[in-house]
Symmetry: C3
Subunit: 271 residues, 3 copies
């Protein structure tokens, strides 16, 4: 029974911030089309215009949502230009976004994705402006999907959705591994692009038994399982909640302690 399920879930990931009325407007538009939608914010504090940050957030969050969830991702510096709106069906969940790479990491993780160019204006607001397609295009598309409109009804299949290149871990000639900081969270944890299995593979290949991190002119040797194993403020290495290698510090921001910013490269040195 539909009534018992609490209504279809629609998540929102945007760079609209929480100061203006923009996010409220998205929600009003969605509830106007589907009053039963359950709205969940992933984040609206994505750095302005940062498509890669939005791509990271939605990719990190969607595996924890139930099937049928619809994820709206709007970081859209190209709004009003010829960039296309896309909708995708991936692992029993749905995604709506501008075709600018915001779904790159989700699409990469699931090559079987079904993607359409959502071009049918019946599923937009009746007036579409040039500056706020979140309101005029993406919120309505998500709301109509939540009402049971099929992906195929929104437009024709798209074979070449924009995919951004995200930095991948590099196996170095000397057997070490090169990584990059791809996200810094609210706590100052430095999240890298190295998933646990890749590190394990490189470690195995190296024939060594341990590793240290060279980052920002320092070597970090303290490898822990959880934050509180480190001394307060001591930089340490662990595998964080997204399964990636992370440099952190107990009750402190590793970003500030190490003076490290987004995009910083580092070496995993097997010893």
């Amino acid at each position: 029974v539909k009534e018992a399920d609490g209504g279809p879930i629609i998540t929102l990931t945007t760079d609209f911030g929480l100061q203006d009325h923009y996010v409220g407007v998205l929600k009003g538009v969605i509830l106007g089309i589907n009053p039963r939608a359950q709205l969940v914010d992933i984040s609206h504090n994505v750095t302005s215009f940062s498509i890669t940050e939005a791509a990271f957030s939605v990719a990190a969050a969607y595996p924890y949502f139930p099937r049928g969830t619809i994820h709206v991702v709007i970081v859209d510096p190209g709004v009003g230009s010829s960039r296309r709106p896309v909708a995708a069906h991936i692992k029993d969940q749905y995604f709506v976004a501008p075709d600018n790479g915001a779904l790159s990491l989700v699409l990469e993780a699931e090559p079987q994705a079904e993607v359409v160019e959502a071009a049918d204006r019946r599923y937009f607001l009746s007036e579409v402006g040039h500056t706020f397609h979140g309101r005029d295009v993406f919120a309505p598309l998500a709301a109509w999907l939540s009402r049971g409109i099929k992906l195929e009804d929104l437009g024709s299949h798209l074979l070449d959705p924009v995919k951004l290149k995200f930095p991948v871990p590099e196996f170095l000639p000397d057997g070490n591994l090169a990584g990059q900081i791809i996200h810094i969270d609210k706590f100052g944890n430095l999240i890298s692009n190295i998933p646990a299995p890749i590190l394990q593979e490189a470690l195995n290949k190296s024939g060594k038994s341990n590793y240290q991190i060279y980052l920002g002119g320092r070597s970090i040797t303290r490898i822990v399982e959880y934050y509180a194993q480190g001394k307060e403020g001591e930089p340490c290495v662990l595998f964080g909640s997204t399964g990636r290698l992370e440099i952190a510090a107990n009750k402190a921001g590793a970003d500030k302690i190490l003076g490290i910013g987004l995009g910083t490269k580092f070496i995993v040195n097997f010893i």
Copy 2:
């Protein structure tokens, strides 16, 4: 059938911020009175004590909400004093706020509004303090409205709700138009008080065919339809999502680039 509609929508616009427990308390009070209410945040990051900013936000958001929506607006430096609580019925939506001008722009857009002084204490919490009427008065009023209590039941008609003067565009003797920056959004877009039809009217009267903006000692001549038409960081002029003339910059904050703050006046010079 009521069950099918997802429950009545109540939006919140406040200056309470997202650090404290205040917004959570509003929601607890509302759900205690009407467990079926659907709560939507417009913004809680209105600048502390800025009634005009709250007035702008709710006026910009409400047209995108379905009929029957109840909007609570609480920026209330006069809490505890003799200022009255008001409730209003405007274009099939409802508004609850202190009578301090927070509804000015909504009332201005709809002179047919029905406004009451919400004085019946049966629809407040049983204990009403002096410092948090959001909790004790406005949240309960909204919740009772959402349960079907009629506007007229809350109190008697109010003929003179407080209306703040918002700056209006000025037709200058030389045929030009004077405007003012009335909102700066998260992206640094400078939103003015000049709606598209007013500019068109002034342009027609001037007999000219084009215009430029004099703002902060600079002239801005690049007129575009959407942000990405400008060069990165280049100040340009467009009509934004609220239908007003806006000075913006592609992938950059026009506020920072131009060094412009809220309230700055500018000239639209027809050429």
Copy 3:
């Protein structure tokens, strides 16, 4: 009828911030287990690692929620260590948190609380990591409680939940009262640890009729009922919305005006 009640309410109080995907993930996990849950944010902007701030927020908010509400509190620097997860039943509401003192103020206000160590892994996610028990442990526990799982089913009774010492008002030998600033809110209001009845008791004992505050080298003599009674920017004393003595300023931040930070001690001098 369950359908009519809008679904069980689950509140969230965390230090996860609103920048990352963490809060969205909590909500996805909860809705995956109980699609009917109604999620309410108390605050996600608790200062990183500040258990006392979370304890303050949830204690200030929960009395305004309806019976049956489930409150999840996650400030968890000890995540992954041997600290226990707890669940509690207090005054017809439920609480889920790490056993690190986050429930101190709630437990203190209600000695009859029923507390269990929530150790039954059937009510966790199937994979439990070392760094994000909000996702793997606390969100699932709350969701299962909201589906009717009994507190006793989660684990065995806990007699010694961690309770942090919060500073209490001190009756001084000279008859005066010593207090401390325990919370500074978004408006810069300085909220103390002195509840109205304690001040009244001390005033009665002193045989005096009035009082002034010595704080940060200044004496504050202006005692008001509501903020707007003070002159703009003038420090004044009132009883705020949590029933505690508060130093505030009309339309201004008392914290900035007085240069006062969290934990500052002060004297209530009866005169």
